[in-house]
Symmetry: C2
Subunit: 429 residues, 2 copies
C-alpha cells in the first residue's frame, strides 16, 4: 500500500495502513531474528555505501524540509538539528560502519550451569521483535535507529517528525537498498510515510505487532506517548543532572569536573543543571569556579548561602531545582552534608546522571548506593553518560526507566534473554 504523505486520509485509512506496516514488520522480524551476522553486517555496509553514493540527493531532499521549516519559522536550533550537510551525511555512514563492527549480541549463550536434576540451564540472547521508534527533527536518527535495530535482529518501524519527512524518506530508500542487496527483507525497516499524528496513536497501541516503543524527543512528546501507549515504552526523559562537591573533595578535580559538566556542551541531557556544594568548602571553591562560569557567559542562580559568596548570582527559586535548562544557566545550592545532597538529588534529579566529587571512600560508596539514578559517578564529569563513552558502541537513547533498560541503551537494550535447557532425557520427579 503506497500512500503519499500529503494525501488527505481518514482515521480508518491510517489505521489500515499502520496495521499493514505492523504485520509486515512482524513477518520481517522473524527473518531478522534468524539472519546471520554476515548478512546483517553486509546490509549495514551496503546502507552506508548507498548513503554516501546518494549524498547529493539526500542533501537535496533535506533542502526541501529545511526550506519548509524556514517558511514555518522554526527556531534556529531546530533548523540546525534538521539540516544535513556533507559532513553529517558522512558521519551517518560512519555510524553504520561502527555498528557493523560491533559484536553481534544475538545468539549469545551465557550462564550455562548444571542443576542437581542433571539438566543444564542458561540463557540465550534474542531480539525483542519489532521496535517502534518515534523521534523529532534530526534525520540522522533514521540511519542510527535502523542500524541498531538491524544489528540486534529486530524489525523497526520508524516515525520521524513531519518536518523531516523528505529527508527521512530519502534515507529510507538507502536503507531498503542495503537490506535488499544483503538478501534481507526491506520491510525490516519501515519509515512511516504519513505525517498524520493518528499514525503515532496507532503505532503505540498495536500490541500484536509492536514489542517496544522508544521515543526520542522533547519531554512533552515522551510524556504523551507514555500516557497513551499500550506497548511497553523505553523512556528517555529529561536530564536534570547534579554534581555534588563534598567537603573532602580534591578542589582542583572539583573545579575541572564542575566546569566540564556544565560548559562542555549546553544543550545535552547529560550536562549538569544544578551544582551542590558542601558548606565547608563553598567559600573556597565557588569564587574560582564561578569566575570560569561567568567568563563563559553562564548565568548563575543560587540559594542565599551561595549568593552570599558570589554576589553576581541571581536568586534560585524552587522551580530552578526542577528545571533542565539545556542552556548556559546553572543553579547552585550550598548543602550541610552528604545526606542533604543525596536528599536534594533524590527529590529533584530526573534520575539521569549524578556525580560526587570526594576523596572519602565511605561517602563515595554511600553516594553510589543511595543515589537512585541511571548513572551514578564518583570524580567524573556527568558528560560521560553516553553509549560510546561507556563502550556500548552506539545508543538508541538514555533510559531513565528502571524496567528493562536503565541508562544508555545500546544493542543489548534492544534484546531479551530466553532460558535454554539442555537435557539428556531428564524428567521431573
Amino acid at each position: 500500500m503506497h500512500v503519499r504523505s500529503n494525501e488527505t486520509r481518514t482515521m480508518e485509512d491510517i489505521k489500515k495502513y499502520m496495521q499493514q506496516v505492523g504485520q509486515q514488520a512482524r513477518t520481517a522480524s522473524r527473518a531478522m531474528a534468524m539472519a546471520d551476522t554476515n548478512a546483517k553486517n553486509r546490509a549495514l555496509e551496503n546502507i552506508a555505501a548507498a548513503i554516501l553514493a546518494d549524498s547529493a540527493k539526500l542533501i537535496a531532499e533535506n533542502a526541501k524540509d529545511v526550506a519548509k521549516a524556514k517558511i514555518e519559522e522554526l527556531d534556529a536550533a531546530s533548523i540546525d538539528r534538521l539540516t544535513l550537510t556533507e559532513k553529517t551525511v558522512k558521519s551517518m555512514a560512519e555510524g553504520l560502519l561502527q555498528i557493523a563492527a560491533l559484536p553481534d549480541p544475538i545468539g549469545e549463550i551465557s550462564d550455562m550451569k548444571y542443576r542437581p536434576s542433571g539438566i543444564q540451564v542458561g540463557k540465550m540472547r534474542v531480539p525483542l521483535g519489532v521496535i517502534g521508534i518515534i523521534y523529532e527533527s534530526r534525520p540522522n536518527v533514521t540511519a542510527d535507529a535502523a542500524g541498531l535495530c538491524l544489528k540486534s535482529g529486530n524489525a523497526a518501524i520508524l516515525r520521524g517528525g513531519s518536518e523531516a519527512i523528505h529527508s527521512n524518506q530519502a534515507i529510507a530508500a538507502c536503507v531498503h537498498q542495503g537490506l535488499r542487496e544483503a538478501g534481507l527483507p526491506e520491510t525490516a525497516v519501515q519509515v512511516v510515510s504519513t505525517t498524520d499524528r493518528a499514525a503515532v496513536g496507532e503505532l503505540i497501541t498495536m500490541k500484536e505487532y509492536v514489542d517496544v516503543i522508544v521515543p526520542r524527543g522533547g519531554k512533552s512528546l515522551i510524556a504523551r506517548i507514555s500516557e497513551e501507549a499500550k506497548v511497553p515504552v523505553i523512556k528517555h526523559l529529561d536530564g536534570i543532572c547534579h554534581v555534588y562537591i563534598d567537603d573532602e573533595a580534591d578542589l582542583e578535580k572539583a573545579i575541572r569536573i564542575a566546569d566540564n559538566a556544565k560548559t562542555h556542551r549546553y544543550g545535552v541531557c547529560n550536562a549538569m543543571e544544578t551544582l551542590l556544594v558542601h558548606k565547608s568548602v563553598a567559600a573556597q571553591v565557588l569564587p574560582d569556579l564561578c569566575r570560569i562560569y561567568l567568563d563563559k557567559g553562564v548565568e548563575l542562580r543560587g540559594d542565599d548561602a551561595a549568593r552570599a559568596i558570589i554576589p553576581q548570582m541571581n536568586t534560585a527559586t524552587e522551580e530552578d531545582w526542577r528545571t533542565e535548562y539545556l542552556a548556559p544557566i546553572l543553579s547552585v545550592r550550598v548543602v550541610s552534608d552528604l545526606d542533604e545532597a543525596i536528599a536534594h538529588i533524590n527529590t529533584y534529579s530526573s534520575q539521569h546522571t549524578d556525580s560526587i566529587v570526594t576523596e572519602n571512600y565511605t561517602k563515595a560508596m554511600r553516594f553510589l548506593r543511595e543515589v537512585d539514578s541511571s548513572s551514578v559517578m564518583v570524580n567524573a564529569s556527568t558528560r560521560f553518560a553516553d553509549g560510546f563513552e561507556y563502550g556500548l558502541g552506539a545508543e538508541i537513547g538514555i533510559s531513565t526507566d528502571k524496567i528493562h533498560a536503565r541508562g544508555p541503551v545500546g544493542l543489548e537494550g534492544l534484546t531479551s534473554q530466553k532460558y535454554i535447557v539442555l537435557g539428556n532425557g531428564q524428567v521431573r520427579i
Copy 2:
C-alpha cells in the same frame, strides 16, 4: 487510615486510600533499598517464626474465608487452593527461610571495565522500588511475594482476592510483626484492605508510586490488567507448551519426556498441552506413548494422521491448538519436518516453554535458536520450567513477556541495574 473491608466506600475514598498506600510504599521503598542484608534476613526469619507461632490463628481466619467460599459455591479446585492447613502454613514459613538463605542481589557490582578515557564503568544491581502484586485464591502468595520483594529491597503492595481477605490480613499481621522486630518499616509490605475492584484500577495506574505490577492469576485477570495498566506489567500469561519428537529422537527418552510433561501434574502452566511427532516415527512411538496416556485417563485429540495410528483419539480442531487445557487432555499432531514443528510452535505456543527430543545436533541448535519462547529445551521435560529447578531459589511468576524479565522471575527479576562510573577527575574532551 484504617478502613474495614466490608465498609461501603465511594470511589473517592478508595482513591484516597490507595494514594496513601502508594505514598507509604514509596517512602518505605527508600528505607528498603538501603537496608542491609542482615536486617532483611532477620525480617524474613521473624516473619517465618510469627507464621509458625500464629499457625492456629491463621487457620482459624482462613476457615472464615473457606466457609464463605462454600456458601458462594466456589468450585472444588478454588477451595482447595484457598485452604490453609498446618502443612501449608509450615511450608509458607519454610519458603521464607529459603528466601533468607539466598544471596542478596542488591548492591552487586559487575562488569567494571576501564575505558580509554580512564573512567571505569560497570553496573550496580538496585531494587525496582515499589512492586504491586495482584493475585487470586492462594493465600501463600501473600507470604511468598512479601518475602521476595523484601529480600530484593523493594516495597510491596499486595492485593489478594476478596475470597482470601481474612487469610491475607492474618498473614499480613505476621509480616508486619517480622518487619517491625527487624527495625524495618511495616509499610514495606502493605496488604490492601479493601476488596473493591476499584482499588486494582487505582493500583495499576499510580505511576508516581508504583514501579511495576506483577499479576498472578487467570488469563482474564491478566488480560484486563495489561489492558488498563499505566504502570509496566510483568505478565505471566498461559502456558501452551509443546514437546516435539523428532525423527532422530531417542524414542525411549521421547516417551519418558512426553509422559512426564503431560502427566506429572495437569493443572500447571509448564505442562505440555500439544504433542508434535515427526511423521517418520509416529507409527513407532505413538502406540506405546498413547497406551500410557490412556491408562492414566488422558483424553487424546489428534489430527487425521495421528488418529490413523491411534483410533481411540478424538478429532482435534483448530481451537485445540490454541487451548491451555490444564487438565488430562492432550492434543497430538503429526508434522512433516522440523520446520513444520517450529512453525506450529511459533504460531500456537504461548511463548512459555517448548521442548524438542532429538539426537541430532543441528536440529537441536536450530530449535533452541528459532523457537521464540521464554524457555526452550532439548531432551528435557517442560515441567522443569520453574524457578527452583532453574536455581533461582523461588519465583514470583513465569514471565511470557520479552521486556525486562523472561521466563521464571526470581529475585533478579525484581531488580534493575544502574551504571556506576569511578573516575579520578576525568572530564570529557
